[in-house]
């Protein structure tokens, strides 16, 4: 019957994980998975209830207490912005635990294991160890303990290849000879590999790496499941292994990178931000824009010449309609000189049948900006350039602008960081609350709409 309890835990993991894939159910999903974990833990405790060694009990209790307190404190104390590295650290502990389970098996029954068990033990040990060290390097990079920039390894990928090969040989040896030392050698090589494989990867790519390591820690857990012949571990581990892999691939797709490119090319400059010109900007994808818009209460659309060039008037109207259907207030903030002729935006938006009531000119839109959650700038540039207010040397100093920086988030859709009519750079693009969505305006709006419909 214990097995059925474990199965129940596995089902809760599956349902929980599924819940985590959609905003509406994510929190519930996480809690269901946690419940599954509780079920599994209670079950194992019941299973070992009949063990008489009191020392063993104290070890378990101490482990639970120490781990619980540390994990709990870390989780509750950490700043929102530091969460990614914390996840990395937790992941390292998980991988470490699986490696330790395997190590304990080596220590106790290492010499007598059946071949198949020896294989899974080695896999658990090695994969768990890679996860452990790799995750902590990722943690160190994100936390700033190690430079976020890619750190070139002497010999590069080749060195890692050699280490990996050596580890594989040690594993084969361990399985074949049941020699304990070879197990430890394999573990040591794995530890090094974890470090050397992650160090050359840039900080910006760390989330993808952590996701991959997460998948590995799942596999390690599944292997540990084979070692102790427990299906909860196999189910949970395999689940995370597979889901983590898919997630990793999705994340690299979202960054427009291939996974191998991320892992083996030492890319990715500063943490999170990515530089196009000399200064870093925050980039956004259609999905980022979609999430930001859908969770807003009030959205301002700022059209500019780029909207006209892209002939995106119908696309912008469709996007606005989709937001309005979701009870989000949308208005258009029309700058007096947006475009290239007086009334340029009007003629386009009238063509798209946007109601006049939604068109606010400068005097009416600026007071609303600070109560606006998201400003979606579509191919405008000069008319939202804050240097008109702040830089007396700017050629546009003194021109009234739309104060989009007063809104919570500004998403700017344009194809590049190229300047507009006035030929000057726009400091807004580099500001904290600004997301740059580099694409043709029509394409970007259509893709954002598609992403919204997908949510």
């Amino acid at each position: 019957m214990m097995e059925l309890a474990y199965l129940g835990a596995g089902v809760l993991f599956i349902v929980g994980l599924k819940g985590l894939t959609s905003p509406a159910s994510a929190r519930r999903g996480n809690r269901m998975a946690a419940l599954g974990m509780l079920v599994a833990t209670i079950t194992v405790v019941i299973e070992i209830l009949d063990i008489d060694a009191e020392a063993a009990w104290w070890i378990v209790i101490a482990g639970l207490a120490v781990g619980g307190v540390i994990g709990g404190l870390l989780a509750l104390r950490v700043q929102m912005t530091d969460m990614p590295q914390l996840v990395a650290a937790f992941n390292g502990f998980g991988g470490g635990a699986s490696a330790l389970v395997a190590a304990a098996a080596v220590v106790t029954v290492g010499a007598t294991m059946a071949n198949e068990t020896a294989i899974t033990t080695t896999l658990s040990l090695v994969i768990g160890t890679i996860t452990l060290t790799g995750s902590f390097v990722a943690f160190a990079k994100l936390q700033g303990l190690v430079s976020g920039r890619p750190i070139a390894m002497p010999g590069g990928t080749a060195t890692n290849g050699v280490i990996a090969l050596a580890a594989v040989l040690a594993c084969i040896g361990a399985v074949a000879t049941s020699n304990e030392t070879l197990y430890w050698l394999a573990a040591a090589l794995a530890a090094i590999l974890g470090i050397t494989a992650v160090l050359p990867i840039g900080g910006a790519d760390m989330p993808v790496v952590i996701s991959l390591l997460n998948s590995l820690s799942g596999i390690a857990a599944a292997m540990a499941g084979f070692v102790i012949e427990n299906q909860a571990l196999i189910v949970g581990g395999a689940l995370v292994g597979a889901a983590g892999l898919i997630l990793t691939i999705e994340m690299s797709v979202a960054m427009n990178r291939s996974l191998s490119n991320i892992l083996f090319s030492g890319f990715g400059g500063g943490p999170i931000d990515e530089a196009i010109g000399t200064r870093p900007v925050k980039r956004a994808t259609a999905d980022d824009a979609a999430i930001a818009l859908v969770y807003a209460n009030r959205v301002a659309i700022v059209p500019g010449y780029g909207l006209a060039v892209a002939q995106a008037q119908h696309a912008v109207r469709d996007l606005a309609a989709a937001l309005e259907e979701r009870d989000i207030e949308v208005y258009y903030a029309i700058h007096p000189v947006a475009g290239r002729m007086p009334g340029h935006m009007n003629v386009l938006l009238a063509e798209a049948d946007v109601s006049y009531d939604l068109l606010l000119d400068l005097d009416h839109s600026n007071p609303k900006m600070s109560q606006t959650d998201v400003v979606l700038v579509v191919g405008a540039n000069d008319v939202i350039n804050p240097s008109a207010k702040t830089d007396p040397n700017s050629p546009i100093y003194g021109m009234p602008i739309l104060d989009v920086d007063e809104a919570t988030t500004t998403i700017v859709v344009k194809r590049s960081l190229a300047p507009g009519f006035a030929g000057i750079d726009n400091p807004l693009f580099y500001e904290e609350g600004t997301l740059m969505y580099f694409a043709d305006a029509k394409v970007a709006l259509e893709e954002t709409l598609a992403a919204i419909e997908r949510l």
Partner: protein, 373 residues
């Protein structure tokens, strides 16, 4: 068979009853076509074009020559003279106002087909010249209004301030009214409209304009509006008053067949409008929807100009002629059976339009003396 088109060009008439395209078709039907020189000049159709379409361009059509005369308005004495006895004349004959003319034609055995009496049935749509010319008139009314209005129709946000959109009100949403709504909407105006027939609400909204919720009542069996009793009219004016007052441009098209046009706007309503505003009363010549409007004149009341243009369709002479010519062509085709002219008073389309035979349907047309041209 001989068919002729006279030049009807005048200050207000710029259209022509046939285009080179319809002439070609008429020739194909078996007609010998005479057209007076310069007949299409103002509408943009040259004599050369008619000639190469197969017409004889003549300075003046000879007397008593024609089996069929195509015209726009009622024919003059001179025009009637060109028709052979027993011939046919087709055009807007305005029979109510031209009793003498009709009698004269009848006395000579000339059959008169009045385009305004072609039924508005689905079947006869391609012959419905009232519709085609009302289309042109509705379009022209808005262009006239927008040109005369000292304001922009669309909204413009500019560095020199925001220009608000013009407010346009269309009263009477028949063919002309609908086209006026569509055209004003194209120009970017904020358009409201009203008609007494309830089904027009959906039609107005189908053009993206707003319907003014004043009283409506069911139409007559022919699909035309009925006259309105005084109480309803008063309620209408009460509600319309406020809307008229805040409009920049009002275009009225309301008609009730066979009666005076309904009075929708009275003087006090006009006086509430802002100076510089404009009213175009398309019903001015049939009594006027607006108090004080006069046909073809501009009346100014408290800074508000009231225009009563007639012949608005003539302002888009080329396309109005194309459509009208096509209408006439379809009517004539219907009267040609195996190369012979047969005016059938029983015909569902021609019958009702055939003047003088209403009471005596089935009058067999004397067989045409001539074969195919």
């Amino acid at each position: 068979m001989k068919l002729g088109i006279r030049s009807e060009q005048s200050d207000s008439e710029t259209r022509v009853a046939a285009t080179p395209v319809t002439v070609t078709a008429l020739v194909d039907l078996g007609f010998e076509v005479d057209i007076e020189a310069g007949a299409g000049s103002v509408a943009g159709f040259t004599d050369a074009a008619y000639a190469s379409a197969g017409a004889h361009v003549v300075p003046m059509i000879e007397a008593a020559r024609l089996d069929v005369l195509l015209c726009i308005g009622p024919p003059t004495q001179a025009a009637v003279a060109t028709i052979a006895d027993g011939g046919v004349v087709v055009g807007f004959l305005d029979p109510g106002a031209n009793v003498d003319l009709i009698a004269d034609l009848g006395s000579r055995g000339i059959r008169a087909v009045a385009m305004e009496n072609i039924p508005r049935s689905t079947l006869a749509q391609s012959m419905d010249a009232l519709s085609s010319q009302a289309t042109a008139a509705g379009y022209a009314a808005v262009l006239l209004g927008a040109g005369e209005l000292p304001k922009f129709m669309p909204m413009l946000v500019t560095a020199a301030g925001t220009v608000p959109p013009a407010k346009v009100l269309v009263l009477g949403v028949g063919v002309a009214g609908l086209q006026a709504i569509a055209t004003a909407r194209r120009l970017g105006a904020v358009v409201r409209a009203y008609d007494i027939r309830p089904e027009t609400k959906e039609q107005v909204e189908s053009l993206g304009a707003k319907f003014v919720e004043a009283p409506t009542q069911e139409m007559d069996d022919g699909g035309y509006a009925r006259a309105v009793d005084e109480e309803t009219a008063a309620r209408q004016r009460a509600i319309l008053g406020d809307v008229v007052a805040e409009s920049d441009l009002v275009i009225t098209t309301a008609q009730v067949p066979g009666r005076q046009a309904p009075r929708l706007i009275d003087r006090t309503m006009v006086e509430r409008m802002a100076p510089g505003s404009l009213i175009i009363d398309m019903a001015a010549s049939s009594g006027g929807n607006v108090e004080g409007s006069r046909p073809d004149e501009t009346v100014i009341v408290g800074g508000v100009r009231i225009l009563g243009p007639r012949d608005l369709a003539a302002r888009v002479a080329t396309d109005a002629s194309r459509m009208y010519g096509r209408n006439l062509l379809e009517v004539v085709s219907r009267m040609v059976v195996e190369g012979n002219l047969v005016v059938d008073g029983d015909d569902a389309v021609i019958g009702p339009a055939l003047l003088g035979t209403h009471a005596t349907p089935g009058v067999e047309s004397p067989t045409d003396p001539e074969g195919a041209a």
